[in-house]
Symmetry: C2
Subunit: 184 residues, 2 copies
């Protein structure tokens, strides 16, 4: 098992309670009441399982990477009782672009990294890649965000900013799942 | 199953007969007499199975991509009775570099694409990525090459050129397997 593999299992068990679930673009995911985040490949009872691996960065420059690393905080903070799981799929047109063309859209015109930086360290984030794993996955990326309840509206703003970018024209499926857990 | 997933199964069955098998850097792979190239995930009797997916290009510019696409030919040509399977793994240092730093080493100083272009269309090539698949794979990339017997020494030259580059300093495991099949 790849030790960077994670599974998000949607069903009626798990520490994260779903507070809203919305199909933003394309086909919906079956509504669930809880989500479990599992290291490795899940084989638990669930309505759906989404798998992805964390990987090396694809777009950041050295300066952007240093800045991100110096500011960002990890998952699992006590105060982070709110979360979002946003699975997205990009179009075949996106994947036919070259690296430099994708970078130009990603940061040159869409300022994806700059937008994200504004919400650090409050919003912690982990990106999972699903396009190149061996199983047939319905999405290309699963992004998991964790934040404190007072950042809910800031998070809405972050997501709205990204959805207004040129990059989002290349997204043909997106689901937005918001979650809460009990304070530890 | 991801339809870009392929398995190379080493054992004593399959159309490709191993003519040499060499551990270039790092740990060897168990010697086998034949290799089978299977679409999807194999569950056949074998000594080892290496899995990878074809994916979008990571380094080529638009100009390089257009040039490659216009010249290269596909696998399975009748005349291509020789093949090579070269699995490699890159170091953690490589994966900690940013995209632009990797591109600079890959093409800026190592001219990986330029070297490869010299041997087109004679040497056909398919690259499989294994780093981000869900199973734990011993290599990061599997490259499969097919060519006619009269290109064997040209292929040796191609491989020697690549091994002399700066990029190859970031490779900590490499196996070189040469194969032949009967003419169709």
């Amino acid at each position: 098992m790849n030790n960077r593999l994670f599974t998000f299992a949607g069903g009626n068990v798990g520490p994260w309670e779903v507070t809203s679930q919305l199909a933003v673009v394309g086909e919906a995911l079956k509504n669930v009441s809880r989500v479990n985040l599992i290291a490795g490949s899940a084989s638990i009872l669930s309505d759906w399982e989404l798998r992805g691996v964390t990987s090396n960065e694809r777009y950041v420059t050295r300066m952007e990477k240093s800045k991100l690393v110096s500011i960002q905080e990890g998952l699992g903070r006590d105060s982070s009782t709110c979360a979002a799981l946003i699975p997205i799929r990009k179009t075949p047109e996106w994947w036919a672009l070259t690296q430099e063309e994708r970078r130009e859209i990603f940061e040159g015109t869409s300022t994806h990294i700059q937008i994200g930086l504004k919400y650090l360290p409050g919003v912690a984030r982990r990106l999972h890649h699903c396009r190149d794993i061996g199983t047939k996955e319905p999405f290309d990326f699963l992004t998991w965000f964790e934040f404190a309840p007072d950042l809910c509206s800031a998070f809405d703003e972050l997501v709205a900013s990204l959805r207004a970018t040129e990059e989002w024209n290349y997204i043909d499926r997106e689901v937005d799942i918001r979650l809460e857990r009990n304070p530890t």
